[in-house]
């Protein structure tokens, strides 16, 4: 019933979004792939094609390798911790009781703070100087102070704690919404079967949480790979390069050191890592889905 005119109007309606997206996302993304095979930097006037040289350099640079492994480690760990904590909180706070709603609101609150601010706040809280709150609390209870951000072996985990603190509430509200959709008759049936609460959790709750679990896992994984602000605020990649991540390295090489081609090669590696890791997780999630359905 509609004529050709409608398609023309349609084109005009979609074009602003598409043109903007094309110029500011597709083009620079393709440029990253292209530049990764050139010698582009602020020191080179002539652009020359160098093949895979940047990639070769990248894989011989221990610092860059460390940034990649740190990023993967961080992303996997935050996915695990954030989701386990969020599910436990969701189940616990779904209890209809006075105080549950207030607690839920409070647990979500850190998610509206900016990551940079959280980073600065915890940089003080975790400080090994006299005023560091964590160490003062530990010492009050008679423990030994911990060098949260200065010890290369634990700095990455310290950063991780702040982000679990900040983002578990976000995942939690998604789990809570999913929990509400579970038919209570299923629990009654499990009661009749004589299932205890732990068995009910694993046989009824967890399988039915599949939609929220798959969404939250992918979100924390991809979000974890992009980690930048909190590192920038708390450790600047240090001590040494213990908390260096792909993003901090890319920003430093691309903007501060002017090694644009090198940064572009790292961007391509970043894309591959994100793609491969999320594929692997999706395969596992699909396998789990088939098993429970």
């Amino acid at each position: 019933m509609y004529g050709k005119k409608r398609e023309r109007v349609f084109l005009l309606m979609i074009l602003p979004a598409f043109v903007g997206f094309f110029i500011l996302f597709i083009v620079p993304t393709l440029m990253s792939f292209f530049y990764s095979m050139t010698n582009w930097s602020v020191y080179n006037a002539n652009l020359r094609f160098v093949g895979l040289d940047n990639y070769r350099q990248l894989f011989t640079d221990t610092k860059t390798i460390a940034s990649i492994t740190n990023t993967v480690k961080y992303a996997v760990l935050i996915t695990v911790f954030q989701n386990i904590i969020a599910i436990l909180l969701a189940v616990f706070l779904s209890k209809k009781m006075k105080g549950a709603n207030f607690t839920k609101s409070l647990v979500f609150l850190p998610a509206v703070l900016s990551i940079l601010v959280t980073g600065f706040l915890f940089q003080y809280i975790m400080s090994s100087a006299d005023y560091g709150l964590f160490n003062r609390i530990i010492q009050f209870f008679g423990g030994q102070p911990v060098n949260w951000l200065g010890d290369a072996n634990i700095a990455l985990y310290s950063v991780l704690i702040t982000q679990v603190w900040q983002w578990s509430g976000w995942s939690m509200v998604i789990y809570i919404a999913n929990l509400k959709s579970i038919d209570s008759a299923l629990y009654e049936a499990a009661d009749i079967d004589g299932a205890g609460s732990i068995r009910k959790f694993f046989t009824v709750t967890l399988p039915l949480l599949y939609p929220a679990v798959s969404f939250n896992i992918l979100m924390s994984l991809i979000g974890g790979m992009k980690v930048f602000d909190v590192i920038f605020a708390m450790t600047k990649g240090g001590p040494g390069y213990a908390t260096e991540t792909i993003m901090t390295t890319m920003i430093r090489e691309g903007f501060n050191s002017g090694r644009n081609a090198y940064a572009s090669a790292l961007a391509v590696i970043f894309f591959i890592v994100v793609f491969v890791l999320s594929r692997i997780v999706i395969i596992f999630l699909n396998r789990w889905e088939r098993k429970i359905s």
Partner: protein, 276 residues
């Protein structure tokens, strides 16, 4: 009876424990802002001896607060409006047209959901310079809209629009109402729930974005709140009772927004998590 009281007690204790773990850093942040350095060192978790706002006064000045707040508002409000307008039109076309062209465009938009925009930023810097948009609010707005947040908004809107029955627009079409007008007058008002989700998710993301202003805004008078905080962290590094008020002031607008709109914010986060 006894057992029930025990479980209730267990839950209550749990609520308190969770609240303390989440709330303690926030409580520490706020009480410290009212203390002198000596007082903060002496009793970090004690209530302040008096409600002393001099730290805040100093922070407001050091951050150039009024101006930075204005910059944040300009960027966030304009970007969110542009996103709603462009994404809703595009999503409408995608869900209503059978044309191959638009399906292809949709698939290209979806690439943006999978590839993190960060891989584009080094060349993006060049493009923004080339367009003469470096160090302008418009540059940051366009990057926020088109490079970072557009795909998710289109994805969410498309999912919602496909559930809106087409009979309404057919009737409007027979009445002689044009496609463009039909969209804005008849369809758009029906999209309220999902628009609210899109607005909330984008407003949070854009307001709290640090990387984009860091890369594309250099002059101090154009800086956003987070840049002002960042600028002051060095000079105030040993004087944290003066620095903490800046942290509070920079997050205050969103915290107030969250407290007032709590239900909406959480609904938005949940609605944004529905997979297509």
């Amino acid at each position: 009876m006894m057992k029930k009281r025990l479980t209730n007690g267990f839950y209550r204790l749990g609520f308190i424990l969770i609240s303390v773990v989440v709330g303690l850093p926030l409580y520490y942040l706020v009480v410290t802002t009212f203390k002198t350095p000596e007082e903060a060192a002496l009793s970090p978790l004690g209530l302040p001896s008096s409600l002393n706002f001099t730290n805040y006064q100093r922070a407001l000045e050091a951050m150039n607060y009024g101006n930075a707040l204005k910059n944040n508002l300009i960027i966030t409000v304009s970007a969110v409006i542009l996103l709603v307008v462009f994404a809703s039109m595009a999503a409408y076309v995608i869900s209503r047209s059978q044309s191959k062209l638009f399906k292809t465009m949709y698939n290209i938009f979806l690439v943006g959901l999978i590839i993190p925009f960060q891989i584009a930023i080094v060349p993006l810097y060049q493009i923004i310079s080339g367009l003469n948009l470096m160090n302008t609010h418009l540059g940051v707005i366009l990057v926020s809209v088109f490079c970072i947040n557009l795909p998710l908004s289109i994805f969410l809107l498309r999912g919602f629009i496909s559930t809106v029955p087409v009979e309404l627009e057919e009737a409007a079409f027979l009445d002689g109402c044009g496609t463009f007008k039909t969209f804005w007058l008849i369809i758009f008002p029906l999209l309220k729930p999902i628009i609210s989700t899109v607005v909330i998710l984008n407003a949070l993301a854009i307001w709290n974005d640090f990387l984009t202003p860091l890369l594309f805004l250099q002059s101090p008078d154009k800086a956003v709140l987070l840049q002002e905080v960042y600028k002051n962290v060095g000079p105030f590094s040993t004087n944290w009772t003066s620095f903490f008020p800046m942290l509070v002031l920079s997050v205050l607008p969103l915290v107030v927004f969250y407290i007032i709109m709590q239900k909406r914010v959480i609904e938005g986060v949940v609605a944004g998590s529905v997979k297509g």
